[in-house]
Amino acid sequence: MAPTIKWQRWDSASYNWAGTAATDALPSLEAELDAWITAVNGNASNTGRQITKERGYADSTTANYHGLVISAGANNNTAKGYLGFGTYGTATTKKLYAGDTYADNTTNGGYGTISGGVIDTTVSWYSSGQEANFLIIYDTTDGEEFFLFGPSMPANPTTNYSEGFYIMKCTDGEWSMFANDGSVYVHTHYWNDALSTGWDNCARNTTADTSTNAGTYGYGRFDLNPQSGLDIADPATQGRIDVYAANPNLIQRSASSTYYYTGNRRVLTTLGTGQDVYVVTSAYYGPSVLIDLRP
């Protein structure tokens, strides 16, 4: 099944990340995410790997707390990983969480607390007063599921559809979840092989790195191609077994340096001008995820 690609723009007067109307930004994003979750949870491969939206826009109890908490199941849903993406405390920054523990309560503005992993704080973000463009790409095919979200705010040029998040089924049949701000990222993947079992949370430039599986430098086992030097810098990654996105339309690479704009499209230099490859999420020292739209 070809991926579904949707895009929406809010002008500076209408964009409201904190808004609760169906047409507002976060509710619009959630409506698409909810539909995707319902679809993929019905897939045979996800009987023991259910995706759950633990929190959404409607759970906010405090001003400036607006976001998502998403869990992914593994090991017949007894082991869950958690991804947090949203403004948790201020209107002009967002936080990214990836962890394997979740305090399911009303703290943190109604969103509970993700722990046992990594946190990226004070990520530049606009909740209102700026033009915002949201791009989502997803597939519900059993065994090849993914959901990508990338926002773009021209007033904040580092967004560029890249400061988003993804939920992705990998070649080992387990879920990966990732969120980034263009240079810093948080990431979690459930491993179940000879090296380790459990959710491994890794990140770059994080304020916390408490996963027992995480590497010395904050890089745990990584299911995407790491940048050159990572292996040398972090002995913990040696011996890893890489897995990749299960969906054949997704490309993953290690760094974001070789794509650029031409003709208003993001084009990978290595694929040649005019190739239809779109950058969705990326990080300077982390993974990039691209959608392959070539014929």
Binding site: W7, T171, S183, N225, D242, P248, S254, A255, N264, T270
Partner: protein
Amino acid sequence: MAWTDYSNTASNLWDANIGNAVNSSTNIHSEVQEFLAVGASNLTVYPYVTTINSLENSYNIPGFDGYWPDGTSDPINGDMGGGGGGGVRPSSGFLYPRGDT
């Protein structure tokens, strides 16, 4: 406001909407510059991109020592620049033989 579905639209037709949503004069180019500023010596260090999506179709290069053999072009982009023995070592981890990091 509503979502616009581009699922069946060729991406080269995105220019009037998605493509123009961000200004081509900034953004990616600036990202590249920032990337360079934080330590990447040149862009050719990281030219390797692949459509590897499973272990089955990954590149398997027996005895690969981290450099393309003399006269061997990059199987991904056909570029000879990274080959020639002693050329730039590919950056992507998957190109390394497992266990040889």
